[in-house]
Amino acid sequence: MAHDNHQRGGNGNGQDLPTMWIDPQACQGCVLCLKACSAKAIRVRGGVAHILPQACVNCGDCFRACPHMAVRCRTTPLEHMRRFQHPVAAASPTLFSQFGYRTTPNQILLALERLGFQQVMDMGWLCEMNSVAMEEYLLAHPELRPGISPSCPAVIRLIAMRFPSLLGNVLPILPPRVFAGKVVKERLAQSQGWDPRQVGVFHIAPCAAKMVGPHDPVVLDQPYVDGVFSFREIYGPLLQALQGLEEDHTLQKCSGAGIAWAMSGGQAAAVDVEHTLDVAGFDEVVRILEMLEAGRLRDLRFLEAHICPDGCLGGPLVVENHYRAKSVTLRQMRRFGAMSRVNRAKIKQFMADGLYDWRQEASPRPLPPLDPDTSQAIAKMKAIQSLTARLPGIECGVCGSPDCQTFAEDVILGRASEDLCPFTYQRGGPQPAPAGRQTVTVKDLVDKLGLEVAAGAGGLGREVKGGYISDLLSDVMANAQTGAVWLTIQAHQNVVAVAVLKELAAVILVGGRAPAEETVAKAEQEAIPVLTTPQGAFDLAGRLHDLGL
């Protein structure tokens, strides 16, 4: 599985970096991900799909839908554990469901140890502790109706974007994975005499949504988790480690109550307050959040919500079929019993010590209105309505927007041109391309010159009208032509800003330069392609000239 050169993402600049991205080389430009995306965060432009970071909640539905494996998850490469002297594993209890009925949680934890982790946390146990902490918090705050579990980061992101008024309902209790990192770094490292900078805590997850970083609206001011390993990547090594494993000690502390966290309903069953509700799946979660926001469900005390169908065992990066994983989980729950051995007094002490506290609150990221000015917004909405009425309403997706209504929005907001719709196109009569001039798109350059697309694949359909070579930003601001490709060695994010302001077609980083992380984020957001090549500016300019530019 492919990886980005991205490990921590925590660059602290508040930029959105989606945990999913689409490889333009593998993308066929079909409508499958476009249609699968409930958040309507995908557009196909210039024959390539791309994700709008500000609308994406990291649910993983595009990843599930793509038959060409073009959708990639930004998880951490396994080798990164070797960057730390003291690697620590904190695996989602969903991992226990991936190896059939015979393999016990203890064996899986021991196998993780065999892979070289110095400490293996039993996250099932931390989940059980978390149920108690959430319950205690609810009992101490009877006015909070309902408290929402903070465990699914995609749900929290959805709330921050579309239901900001409910952010205050998210329980301010660190979810198990972050709690694990905090305990390891603030307590275990000390007691073991480890250098805290040499302690790397890795969450092993069934989804990329748990990838820590600025895309997580629940930003913690200190990174407790150093990386997220995907189930898919660790599965093979774990299978090997399970072979001939000697079960000579016990790492498992959890009962069935912790194991149940893998499934939707596991938390609701464990948090013992009146009226709990569990909901799973994007559309179903939206429905419940809408009801909450409309002031309904007033009796509810606790809400467990998962973006994935059936909860974490339906995650995009699981290996096991999720119905079978559920069967295995149910079997293990029976075998280890629902009686939790968590010591309530100890949890209360942890809470009193602030060990479960957020450092920062989740911050709202509302989707912007059609226009900041209400009169303009009304005018735009009317224009959208009248355009929608003229569109065929067959929701084919050929225009590259997910449905006719969204296409109309894209057109009115200047993100798409109306003739992309094959139906309005026909009605108006086809508009032939201006004769005598062959248009060249950024994608043509990528294909013909073998350039790497480092970011901003959404803009590959842009037309290239010329080229400009300079490493001085003011020079480019003053002299570059609209539609030019800009050849430069400058890889910082201001380059993208200049490209946007000057409406350039693309930025090509020459001489093997790679874009900075902020540059990537900004380019994705603005759909400005940032291309890289080992060639120098002079050679490349020659080849561009040969292509007729």
Partner: protein, 150 residues
């Protein structure tokens, strides 16, 4: 547009209408949600969204439960939201009584579902800046709710 004072936010223009089905408890609330999302897209403040959502929901429920179906129209001006909710149902025989908190003709089934507190009409009035209700036995019921951003 029918009678009524021009609200201070400018004369609202018609934007959209939604159908409300009689007795559709499963879909009940969907129209209010759509109206709220519409106002959200137009950039109205959370305070306006909150008041509009409450008024829309209560009015929608009354049409579902008592009005025999009808529709909700949304009119909009930069500084005004107007909701007009109308039905061709039995009308309200004694309006003063209906406007009193706690007065309700909800059936036991409706009460079982958490409706029938008799707070709907008073809450609509409380959350609107201008409120008109026109009704007569056999003539249906029409509510006009104006909300001005504060």
């Amino acid at each position: 547009m029918s009678a009524g004072l021009a609200p201070e936010g400018g004369q609202p223009e018609f934007l959209r209408a939604f159908d409300i089905q009689a007795g559709d408890f499963a879909g009940a609330g969907n129209v209010s949600i759509a109206v709220k999302n519409l106002l959200k897209e137009l950039g109205f403040a959370p305070e306006v969204l909150r008041r509009a959502a409450i008024a829309a929901f209560e009015a929608e429920m009354n049409v579902v439960m008592y009005g025999g179906g009808g529709h909700m129209e949304v009119f909009i001006a930069p500084r005004a939201v107007r909701l007009v909710i109308s039905d061709h149902g039995p009308g309200i025989p004694d309006l003063d009584l209906a406007m009193q908190e706690g007065w309700s003709t909800a059936t036991p089934e409706m009460r079982e579902m958490g409706f029938g507190a008799g707070m709907g009409l008073p809450n609509i009035k409380r959350n609107s800046d201008q409120f008109q209700i026109t009704t007569a036995p056999g003539q249906g019921t029409r509510l006009q709710v104006d909300i001005f951003p504060r």
